[in-house]
């Protein structure tokens, strides 16, 4: 490819695929290289999840509720990954002086974020598996494996929509300084509440539950519990509607992420907010 000639479509696709793979590889390699991360992201979230399992045990609730917590704990791992390693990532990159390197390259920002998402999913899956395996082995929570395949299908669809939402958040965080950090923190426990990570979201009531269901992770978890536990899951949205809604949310979020990234990058350049040190 020479500078005075427009690259072909094939070259553009190859370049962007390369960016996706390169960014994903960094995530995967880094997730296993630092031992303290492996311990910190598997053992310790498991301990917090265990505390909530023991809440139900202390209340003499049916064991199925403990399984709700274990599934919720696994989904929390993904949500935290979206928050801290997708949404806030451009903020970290800006703090470390690397954001401009992304902007110099001719690849799409979406490709970089897509790579982050793929790598993040791979990295977090090992943590989520540890949480589910630990919950099953230590607390003997009932997880019916005969319905695991359709649940896994919905789980994949949910992850796609959740990480697409992460891309939108990433564009918003692009312009922020220290408030990015606090905003990410604000999206933790309040989202744990409205997403029903530890209890069926139907308990929130029709209005709050409907608003919460706009988050794909709420909807996905509700559906996965319904697949695994049927009526006993106290489902909120009828299961047959959940996959098509997730597909619509995925398409909508990808479109919004693309528009939002372009807008925020332009604003950032105009206002000189894309470089920052010691926020």
């Amino acid at each position: 490819m020479t500078p005075d000639r427009e690259p072909s479509l094939g070259a553009i696709v190859r370049m962007n695929l390369g960016a996706v793979l390169a960014r994903a590889r960094v995530r995967v390699v880094a997730s296993w290289r630092e031992t303290s991360w492996v311990v910190g992201e598997t053992v310790f979230p498991f301990l917090t999840m265990a505390a909530f399992v023991l809440v139900y045990r202390g209340l003499h609730a049916p064991p199925m509720y403990e399984a709700f917590v274990v599934l919720g704990g696994a989904m929390i791992a993904y949500w935290n990954n979206v928050l801290w390693s997708m949404a806030s990532q451009f903020f970290w990159e800006k703090e470390q002086g690397q954001l401009q390197l992304y902007l110099i390259t001719p690849v799409s920002r979406m490709s970089i974020l897509f790579g982050m998402a793929l790598g993040g999913m791979a990295m977090t899956t090992s943590r989520a598996v540890a949480i589910i395996a630990g919950g099953t082995l230590l607390f003997h929570v009932p997880i019916p494996l005969d319905r695991a395949l359709p649940a896994f299908g919905l789980f994949l669809l949910t992850l796609a929509a959740v990480y697409a939402l992460g891309m939108i958040l990433s564009s918003l965080f692009l312009l922020w300084g220290r408030e990015a950090w606090h905003t990410a923190t604000l999206f933790q426990e309040p989202i744990y509440l409205v997403s029903g990570f530890y209890f069926p979201v139907r308990e929130l009531g029709a209005v709050a539950g409907s608003l919460a269901a706009l988050l794909p992770i709420t909807l996905g978890l509700d559906g996965i519990r319904q697949i695994l536990y049927g009526e006993a899951a106290h489902g909120f949205v009828p299961l047959r509607y959940i996959p098509p809604i997730q597909v619509v949310l995925l398409a909508l979020f990808l479109y919004l992420a693309h528009r939002s990234l372009a807008t925020m990058e332009r604003l950032g350049k105009e206002e000189g907010r894309l470089t920052l040190r010691g926020a």
């Binding site: 909530f52 209890f199 010691g278």
Partner: protein, 280 residues
Amino acid sequence: MKRTLEVMRAASWLGWQVEANWADPFLFVVYSIAKPLSTTLILFFMVRVVARGAATAESFLYLFIGNTFFLYVTEVLIGISWAVFRDREDFETLKYIYTAPLRLLPYLLGRAFTKVVTATIGVSVALLFGKLVLGLPIGGDAGSWVRLAAAVSLGLVSVAWLGIALAGASIIVARHSMNLNEGLAGAFYLLCGAVFPLEVLPRWVLPFSLALPFTYWLELIRRTLTGRPYAVPLRGQSDAALWGILAVSTVGLAMASMTWFAWCERKARTDGLIDWKTNY
């Protein structure tokens, strides 16, 4: 002593600016109360969803109290460690402590005080929410509030010294080890029975729980606010015994933390870690 207090006051003010000046006061208050209110409501809905079983309003009251006051542990433990990492690597100001006529320990205690203040905002709002919105029977006569203030203060001394121990560790480890400190707060949340009765812990875990001062601290607070014991393994302990255990463990923790912190600080200076940058 006067100089130490001055350093603590200045560090607290600096900590307050770092914590709060990124937002207007209203937004900051919303931020401060979001976490405690959310976890309170999570527990509320968890109890409600099984309310047809054995769960009662009293069950929730005990969970509520433990969860609310545990906020101090999370905020202070994580807050002091983060102050070290942020000062060392982001603001690159930790080294300047040594060019000023002050010592690191009172500086960090001052930063811990800021976290106590921000946690107090969250705890106070959560208590008001519990009493006024959820209708929980919290409180009692003036004497019980005085005892509560004394118990909370003693526990906070313990929390602050444990925070100093973690800050010592933070000086000599890389920034990305931060999640170990965060995880430790999660481990304490589980081990001290903040949101469940201790008797549901596996039998082999109970000795670890009973070795933590926070276990006795939360039991003391629960007894002060409700007038009744909660954890079955501690039913044999009188209130006076709980006070004694908490006081003795706090003194022991303070001495151990001071020794550990002094060693860590010496090692950091010897190995050139005071201006270490691991966030590249």
